[in-house]
């Protein structure tokens, strides 16, 4: 029945014109718009097939279906690039179908748009998404619930594609909440583990706090613009007196939830409970960048509120720093990467906050390459060690899993900012834009950004050294399986992963190395093509000060120094004098403890917010108001009135005849009164 209703819905959503006729003149246009509908619909079909039949299908069939319905959208996106190339003109495809919600005076349609910003996001999502699907076939090969995993993964792709394709706030919100759902299901994939179930729930609820802001922002937009359509709102923004600061701050609250920024970042580290490919796809490459995408998409509104922009920049800078400091002391390899993701998202937020939206999106792209790579490589390490995630039980792995080592090295160098790798260009662009923004906030953000670059380099090389160099701490013949689900691979000892896992690693490694060339700034002899490509969408809010290439090179040098310093420090602490780090930790016990406990933020949140809310509910609301006043009043009423009580006692005889009698008596009284009055 679910399938049937879905088919019905498909008929409902697809515009009738497309089904019935297409006039010759508009035929090619029709084709293109149909393509837009297909992009998200295909993964959804994959979800439905695997979700309903997957339990009974063999694993090969499940993975074939999942891969097929992921590669097709990627091919369609490739076709869109061809259309763009053939046309020459900026791409602006639109597909409008029936209304989704419609009341007199307000309606929201099913409508998709593809412009250059969307095209970039589509390419990242389908490209990296497809690679991670391939990797998962190997990684999840021995897991229970293989079909469930791929069904959810396809569901995620569906919602993520809707998110970037939508041409209104509300449809974006559909994708926004939908990816949250997929994330909830995938984080809690090992649902018999309490920690996984908790993490999934936490992610959903914390994101809901952000969504609360997003919803309020939309209500304000409706109240002032009467529409949630991007075009309508943005084209009238300049001439409308709306509370833009409030709207933008509420939108930013939504973004802090999805993109794991202060104050709502706490869910992301816990989300590492999910299978590693999920961490790579959802919690590094795509979903968590939705907040950045949304802010960039709404840059017209944000540009109208300098206050909101400054807040966004400060949040981004603070998050980048905070998460990096925590990342320095984590021992779980995935946790380090999780805090690193939070920190890198901080950079992107910072970019948006200084009005450098295209630099933010550029970092979204390069980060998708190197962070997906890092997670998948970490997954390969974990896989090789039979489920071990603790870096203290690794070491000297470079010879034993060479492909993983070499590919992961590419990722480490890229994120740390090794010159001319992808991360170098995108991070530099952000720092450059912050520095030249001409505001105090910009300078401040730059300073924090450079310091964070140093920290980033340190904790990434710490991870690299601890995992691949030094003495081996690997527990051979893994008997202690703390990752129950990996039982089946434990017995083989340390081994390199199969090709189905290493091939995506190699492709991503290449991208992590060369992915930056599309955004080489003029100072290094490039043309910054990436930024120009986004110009039709993100025409910059502030006029970029024509800074000399001298400034650019000087700033790059500073950033490179930060990189070198971090590398040097990590080398000193973990290779040349292993053990010093423990001494330092002992000497700086309070600070180390603070970092190790992640600033006690979770504890404070639990105690101050969750705890007090539950106490208010238990004592004040349930105890005093509900039991005392609401319930008590009726008690008084019935016991206080003696006559009433005796009546009720007789009425509760349970005898149907007496009830009928009462009813008749009542009716008679009513009629008597009526006639009397008349």
């Amino acid at each position: 029945m679910f399938l049937l209703s879905f088919l019905y819905l498909l008929l409902f959503v697809i515009p009738e014109g497309n089904l019935l006729f297409a006039s010759r003149a508009t035929e090619s246009i029709m084709d293109n718009t149909n393509l837009l509908w297909l992009i998200p619909t295909l993964p959804f079909a994959g979800f439905l097939i695997n979700g309903t039949l997957g339990r009974k299908l063999p694993r090969a069939a499940v993975s074939a279906i999942a891969l097929l319905f992921t590669v097709l959208p990627a091919l369609i996106v490739a076709k869109l690039w061809l259309i763009l190339k053939a046309d020459g003109a900026p791409l602006a495809l639109q597909a409008v179908s029936r209304p989704w919600i419609a009341v007199s005076g307000f309606h929201v349609d099913f409508a998709f748009t593809v412009d250059h910003l969307t095209l970039i996001m589509l390419s990242i999502i389908t490209g990296v998404g497809f690679l991670i699907h391939i990797y998962s076939v190997g990684y999840m090969a021995y897991e229970e619930g293989f079909w469930r995993f791929f069904a959810y993964l396809n569901l995620f792709m569906f919602f993520m594609l809707v998110l970037v394709l939508s041409s209104s706030f509300l449809l974006l919100f559909v994708g926004w909440e939908g990816v949250g759902l997929a994330s909830y299901l995938l984080i809690g994939f090992y649902f018999t583990k309490d920690s996984a179930a908790n993490a999934g729930k936490k992610a959903f609820i914390v994101n809901r706090i952000g969504d609360f802001g997003f919803l309020l922002a939309m209500f304000l937009l409706i109240a002032h613009f009467g529409s949630l359509d991007f075009n309508t709102v943005f084209s009238h923004a300049a001439t409308t007196a709306a509370p833009f600061t409030a709207i933008c701050l509420l939108l930013a609250l939504g973004a802090t939830g999805k993109s794991a920024q202060i104050p709502l970042y706490v869910w992301l580290p816990d989300a590492m409970e999910g299978p590693t490919p999920v961490s790579a796809l959802i919690h590094a490459a795509t979903m968590v960048t939705a907040g950045i995408y949304m802010v960039a998409r709404c840059h017209v509104l944000f540009n109208l509120s300098p206050t909101a922009l400054a807040v966004v920049a400060c949040i981004g800078a603070a998050t980048a720093l905070l998460a990096a400091t925590i990342g320095m002391v984590q021992n779980d390899i995935k946790r380090v990467l999780a805090y690193s993701t939070v920190s890198q998202l901080g950079y992107m937020f910072m970019a948006c906050g200084v009005g450098a939206y295209s630099a933010g999106i550029f970092h979204v792209m390069t980060h998708a390459f190197f962070k997906a790579l890092l997670f998948l490589a970490a997954g390969s390490v974990i896989h090789a060690l039979g489920g071990e995630q603790d870096m203290r039980k690794m070491g000297a792995l470079r010879k034993r899993i060479p492909i993983t080592f070499w590919t992961m090295s590419a990722g480490v160098f890229a994120i740390a900012g090794f010159p001319f790798l992808s991360g170098f260009f995108s991070k530099d662009e952000i720092l450059f834009q912050a520095f030249t923004a001409g505001t105090a906030v910009g300078k401040f953000a730059w300073a924090i950004g450079v310091f964070t670059a140093f920290l980033t380099s340190f904790y990434m090389f710490r991870l690299w050294f601890k995992t691949f160099f030094g003495a081996s701490h690997v527990v051979e013949h893994n008997t202690h399986d703390h990752h129950a689900a990996h039982d089946s691979h434990g017995s083989h000892g340390v081994h390199e992963s199969p090709l189905v896992m290493t091939a995506p690693l190699m492709i991503l490694a290449v991208l992590a190395i060369i992915g930056g060339i599309v955004g080489v700034p003029t100072a290094f002899g490039g043309h910054n093509e990436f930024e120009h490509f986004l110009d039709p969408v993100l025409s910059s809010g502030h006029e970029v000060v024509a800074a000399s290439s001298g400034t650019a090179i000087a700033l790059s040098t500073v950033a490179t120094l930060a990189f070198a310093l971090g590398l040097g420090l990590a080398y000193q602490l973990y290779i040349r004098k292993p053990g010093t780090s423990r001494e330092i930790a002992k000497k700086l016990q309070p600070i180390y403890s603070l970092l190790d406990h992640k600033y006690w933020v979770d504890e404070v949140y639990n105690f101050a917010i969750v705890g007090s809310l539950l106490n208010v509910s238990r004592i004040a609301l349930s105890g005093i108001v509900d039991t005392g006043i609401v319930q008590g009043s009726i008690g008084l009423l019935s016991s206080g009135t003696g006559a009433l009580a005796s009546v009720t006692r007789r009425m509760q005889s349970g005898n149907i005849r007496s009830y009928a009698g009462w009813l008749a008596l009542g009716a008679a009284a009513v009629i008597a009164i009526t006639i009397f009055i008349h």
Binding site: M1, F2, S5, F6, L9, F12, P15, N18, I29, A92, Q94, V96, P99, W100, I101, A102, V103, S104, G105, F106, D109, V174, E177, L181, F191, T192, K193, D194, A197, R208, I209, L215, L216, M218, F219, L220, I222, A223, H224, G226, S227, T232, L614, S617, R618, L621, S622, I629, V630, I634, L637, S638, T648, M651, Y659, L663, V670, I673, I677, H678
Partner: protein
Amino acid sequence: MNPDHSILTLLLLTPLVGAVVLALIPEREADIPGQSGSKIHAIGALVVTLLTFLFTLHLPAHFNYAAAPGSFQFEENYSWITSPAIRYHLGVDGLSMWLIVLAGFLAPIGVLASWNTIKQRSKLFYILFLLQQVAMLGIFVALDLFLYYGFWEFSLVPLTLLIATFGRTENRRRAAIKFFLYAFIPSAILLIAIIWLYVQTNTFQLNELHGMALAKAISPNSKAMLLCSIAFLVAFGVKVPIFPLHGWLQDAVSEAPTAAVMVLAGKLGLYSILRFSFGIFPDQSHYVAPLLIALGAVGIAYGSLIALIKTDLKKLAAFSTLAHASFVVLGIFTFTVAGLDGGVFQILNESLVGAAFFILLGLLYERYGTYELRDYGGLAARHPWMVTMFVIMTLAAVGLPMLNGFVGEFLILSGSMQSLIAHHILWTVVGTTGVIFGAGYMLWMIQRIFYGSLGHRPKEVTGWDLTAREHLELWPFAALFLVMGVASPLWMKAIDTFGAPTVDINTDITMNMSPRPATQPTFVDPTLASAALGKPAPTTDKGARY
């Protein structure tokens, strides 16, 4: 004979005759105590309710969307008693149509949900169930105040008896009495108000009263009229229940059998407010709107927060019902199109989600014999289908976009932001917190029942996954959640024929009462909106465009 002119009577007669027929079939108790007796009454009730459902579908199939605003369709209007002038006057409009279909839809599912759980006195059970169905349909179609009051009072009897006789624990009598008192006392006052109104106007006809109210012909601005309107509102508000009139809810809900819980709260009271409070007392409703907006917003947060700490599943669901009904209260008293349309849509959602919720809880109880959340845990692996249905229901309840709950909640809250009623914007914020807390208690519940390690009750008892009958009960809900969430205009088209004119009337009142000018959104092209609703509009291009 044109079926349009007798369909409503047919709708009322079908379950009534069904009840009489069931009464004539003798009951055969099971030979072994504890075993269920013959299923003949259940089968009979199923046939009758299915037939009724079939008849209700006549309404959307023949509904005239172009009818004049405020007019009724499928009308039947005969004189019944000449003095006082009581008429047998039935009719349907955009407000009641889908509610009637909803009532028709839920009834056979209610019968299925009682299939195995009602083991004794099943004859009485199904007779009461069908009588309750008559009363509910009567409430939705009656356009004569006196006739309406008859159905309204009558609906109390089967419900009270169902709770008192078929309640779960020893507490059932007390819960039934509480429910009855809560409902009966305000209803008695309602009767006085109706009679007072009759004395003033000499009519029980809703449309006449509505006309007089608009013409300000019924003792305008008098205290008595305001009191009268409050009597109406309180009587209806208790049945919703509107915070803080919900004292009866948790006991009644935890006692009542599933089929009775499905009709206990929500739609009857809310419909009555929309039909009678708004119809007869537009000025007075407007006057109390700021208070009701506040109560609605507080009810959302309050219900959700208490649900967060409840470990009795039925009580948790009761407070969730309070929160969902409060959304409707908040929406309709904003007197905006979005609020009203969304509110009426949310009545449908609330009933469907609530029904699915209680059915699912009933299935758990049937297997494990407890509603205590702490006894559960780790059931996901044992009941893969049940957890799927629970999660789908949860997602609908927490308002995930593309499922039905979202459309209602979104419209309601956005309406409250636009409302011209003098209210503090804070109430919108308070109401919106419901999306956070709602996710909180629902996901917490899912986790406690299904995830983690096996709880102690499931360790003692082995349950089984959904049976074919249970699949049949639940899949229609899942399908409806999805279709209503994606294709909401199918429903909204009719609802809007009620919502939009109601706002027009009340906007005039707003203009007269408050000096604040209307902040009409500037860029809304009315033709677009009307096209969106499927009304003819020449300028729009519905196809894809470049």
